[in-house]
């Protein structure tokens, strides 16, 4: 059976080194660029007619638009309007990584922790900077919630800080783990099928079973791909709410 982790290996396509840092154009970069082209191409083709009564593609684009707009509106409020393009971009980047990754022989860049962590830490850094700019010292009262007896604070403040710092870690790790697990599972079942098919006539017939399982898994992974992109965007919205108003 082939190595189920082989699909995650980064391969250089165009070697590139700037200032001693390896910035090669890799299979990961290739699929990021394909994602850029597919998403912008799809949207511009779908919105080409600017129809009053939309066609199928335009409806799909409008559904995504309304969904992200609803996320921003419900979770951040009317002040979240300025973050809308950012959240939309985030959603599309993750969605493209998840969906394009399901094409056989493609590469899912969202199954790399450095990519997901980079996005989650970028959001985290942005939130901390913007929140401190907006609320000043009051931002840190987030770690000292009011309404508890004073002797609880020595315990509570470190817990709050750790849970706050864990946000970007879990945010990035959730997407990474979901995508990696899904892709490994698909590969393992596909590997079963191939291995059984090579083991005589009975094995050839029995190989159909894992193939059907894989078909179901692909449908499931499609759902996961959409869901995780949605979850990533909604969590970004919830965290970004701190830059607009504090809970206390």
């Amino acid at each position: 059976m082939s190595d189920p982790l082989h699909q995650f290996v980064i391969e250089r396509i165009i070697p590139l080194e700037i200032g001693g840092i390896d910035l090669s154009f890799t299979n990961s970069s290739l699929w990021m660029m394909i994602g850029v082209i597919v998403s912008t191409g799809f949207i511009s083709v779908a919105m080409n007619r600017k129809a009053l009564v939309p066609g199928r593609m335009q409806v799909l684009v409008e559904i995504f638009y309304e969904m992200v707009a609803g996320l921003v509106r419900n979770n951040i409020g009317s002040e979240g309007r300025k973050y809308f393009p950012f959240i939309f971009t985030l959603f599309i980047v993750v969605l493209m990584g998840n969906l394009l990754g399901l094409i056989p022989y493609s590469f899912a860049y969202t199954s790399h922790i450095i990519v997901t962590a980079a996005m989650s830490f970028m959001i985290f850094g942005m939130i901390v900077v913007l929140a401190i700019m907006r609320h000043g010292l009051h931002f840190f009262s987030h770690f000292a919630p009011p309404g508890v007896p004073w002797f609880v604070y020595p315990l509570l403040v470190p817990i709050e800080i750790v849970s706050y710092l864990a946000r970007p870690v879990t945010h990035g790790l959730r997407l990474f783990a979901n995508m990696m697990a899904g892709h490994i599972m698909l590969k393992v079942f596909a590997g079963f099928s191939v291995a059984m098919a090579g083991a005589g006539a009975f094995g050839f017939v029995a190989a159909i079973l894992p193939m059907f399982v894989n078909a179901g898994l692909i449908a499931f992974e499609l759902l996961i791909a959409l869901l995780q992109a949605y979850v990533f965007a909604i969590l970004a919205c919830i965290y970004l709410k701190d830059t607009v108003e504090m809970d206390h």
């Binding site: 335009q58 393009p85 939309f88 403040v157 710092l165």
Partner: protein, 209 residues
């Protein structure tokens, strides 16, 4: 109290961030060393730190391109289309509302004129009926009066005829009686006396009857 708490937690936060930063800052170096010593096939390919710079760089490129395209072109376009549609629907709804109120006004006017016509017709009918009734009453009254007069005149004539006839009868009876008395007895009775006798007899008869 609140401010000092915020201040203290800010201090804690900064310490924690520095600690995390130091830990992560140390890590890539270790990771890089490890991967350079180990064979690339072992372990998760995701943890191969030598690929991190390229991944980050191209992710940044992707993100910046998409952000630029979406925020400058795609999203305004989509929101324009959606707003246009909503405006259009709003306009249509308003037009429909106007037409509806117009139709309602027209119906009201129609109903009013119908009501007017109905009252007019009722009035005309009523008038005509009244006129006919009064005319008929007058005619029948006239007729009754005339017939009453005729009847009275007739009755008078009848009574007169009756009394005349009675007188004649009495006269005849008296003459017959006097003639009979002349022929049978041979006396010539006074005619006036005979008349009085007949009257008396008639009166007793009438009483007996």
């Amino acid at each position: 109290m609140k401010n000092s708490l915020s201040f203290i937690s800010a201090g804690f936060f900064c310490q924690a961030v520095f600690a995390v930063n130091a830990a992560f800052g140390a890590d890539p170096a270790h990771g890089g060393d490890a991967s350079s010593h180990e064979a690339p096939s072992s372990g998760l390919p995701q943890l191969d730190a030598s690929t991190f710079p390229s991944q980050l760089f191209w992710l940044l490129v992707t993100f910046v391109i998409l952000y630029a395209v979406f925020s400058k072109k795609s999203l305004p376009e989509i929101s324009n289309v959606i707003e246009n549609r909503q405006d259009h629907i709003q306009n249509e709804l308003e037009t429909a509302d106007g037409l509806k109120s117009e139709a309602e006004a027209a119906q009201q006017a129609y109903e009013e004129s119908l009501d007017n016509a109905r009252t007019l017709a009722t009035k005309a009918l009523h008038d005509a009926q009244n006129k006919i009734k009064t005319k008929a009453e007058k005619q029948s009254n006239d007729f009754r009066e005339k017939t009453d007069k005729d009847m009275q005149a007739l009755e008078k004539r009848l009574v007169k005829a009756k009394t005349d006839a009675m007188d004649d009868m009495n006269m005849i009876a008296a003459e017959i009686a006097s003639e009979a008395a002349q022929k049978i007895v041979g006396i010539n009775p006074d005619i006036e006396q005979a008349k009085t006798a007949v009257k008396a007899i008639n009166g007793t008869k009438a009483k007996a009857a």
